[in-house]
Amino acid sequence: MKKHILFYFLLAVIAGALLTGCGSKQAAEQSASGSSPREISVGAGSNFEPYTYIDKDNQPAGYDVAVLKEINRRLPQYQFKYQSIELKNLLLSLDAKKIQLATQQFERNPDRENKYLFTNEGFANYDKRLIVAKGRTDIKTIDDLAGKKVGCGQGSNTAAILEKYNQSHDNKINIVYVQNGNSAVYDDIVNGRLDAGVMTRKTFKRTNDAFGGGLDIVDDNLFSKSEAYFILSKNETQLRDDIDTVLKEMKADGTLSKLSYEYTNSDYNVE
């Protein structure tokens, strides 16, 4: 009796698996043959105002998302579907095929370029500078950071740059991975738990304005010079080329500048 039950149970499981398997294959074929737009899952960061954040209606929002929506408007063969994902899980979600495109002001670096596809056109200047507590003057360049505690987001390009520095130098930087966005970094630097942070001039201004101006930016030289790009899974070359074409158009006709002013009060290509 017991054996019978087990047998039927297994049979049911296998049948169920086969049915769902066939079902999904059929659905895939249908969408390929029809002329309906191809659905692209987009992951946008969840905590980086004004670029990627979650708005009052619990929807992904920000400059990155606005640019993507405009791109989608000009590329009717795709249908972008947005979801908010924490920065440190964004690339993991690309790996796991949960999404095909990720954005949170991603910068290029060799490790990322090995694994993923970047758009060739950037959509925002992303030059970064060192941030210290107000009045502090001992930190001017990356070499001054040796032995100091520096905060950065896990999975960010800043982290990659700092880690690379540590690999090639004996005098190491003490890298502190920060989870909770700008307020934590601000608080840590002002209270001396961190010696320095790294931000773009725009982010620095917003953070300082929001929390009461306890930070200084190092004006003498840049920490890193780069731009923000959209990042895609390795096999999405067609989508990448389409986005590049549209981004060029948007730069030419001023749409990108308009969006940039709307969200960041400055043009996309200035620091």
Binding site: K2, A17, T20, G21, S24, K25, A28, S41, S46, N47, F48, E49, Y53, I54, D55, K56, N58, Q83, S84, I85, E86, N89, L92, S93, D95, A96, K97, K98, N180, G181, N182, S183, A184, Y186, D187, R206, T207, D209, A210, F211, G212
Partner: protein
Amino acid sequence: MGSLFDIRLVFEYFPTIISRFHITLLIVVVAIGVGLLLGLFIALARMYKIPILNQLSIVYVSFIRGTPLIVQLFIIYYGFPLLLDEIGIDVTQWEKLYFVLIAYGLNNAAFMSEIIRSAISSVAVGQHEAAYSVGLSRWQTLRRIILPQAFLTAFPVFGTRVVTTFESTSLAFTLGILDMIGQAQAIGSRTYHELEGYVVLAIIFIAVSMILEKIFIYAEKRLILNRR
């Protein structure tokens, strides 16, 4: 503009954050429900030493109890679909919430099975023997004699488990679920005020946990009084 902490914002955020309470509640209810059913099944498989199922249950329980919940969440959300993809089943585009519910359910099943198993073992062997001797079947014995007695032993631990599950739902945001924690973080990064959201969360969590504890203590007293 502002400072790091503004007490007025605590009141302002409160309604927005509590509006996501149903997600937290859903996770708890599903986790406890699935946990109870699957947990009873696992406990019985182990009690009656059903071949294969018994060994599987032992491995399963020790795996779940030996790994952090967040690891299980990541394996189920990111790893499991890749595995299914290999055999041709595509679940990568499922709602996140389903994965979270599965993960919390499976996690609770392991803990529940141990609670149930220990409670059943605590019923004296003589009770089984007496039941069999008056001609009850194994299932009848379990349902009429053993489970009602085991229930009383399991109840206080069960209550603790519910409260623990409630608090552990805070991990669901790491996958991007907009529960109360997710809402607090979303507000935080949108308005540059995070601390206030966490204060709201602390208040809600303390209040709900205390209410749950009170309910369980009350129910426990009533149950024991009825039995004696």
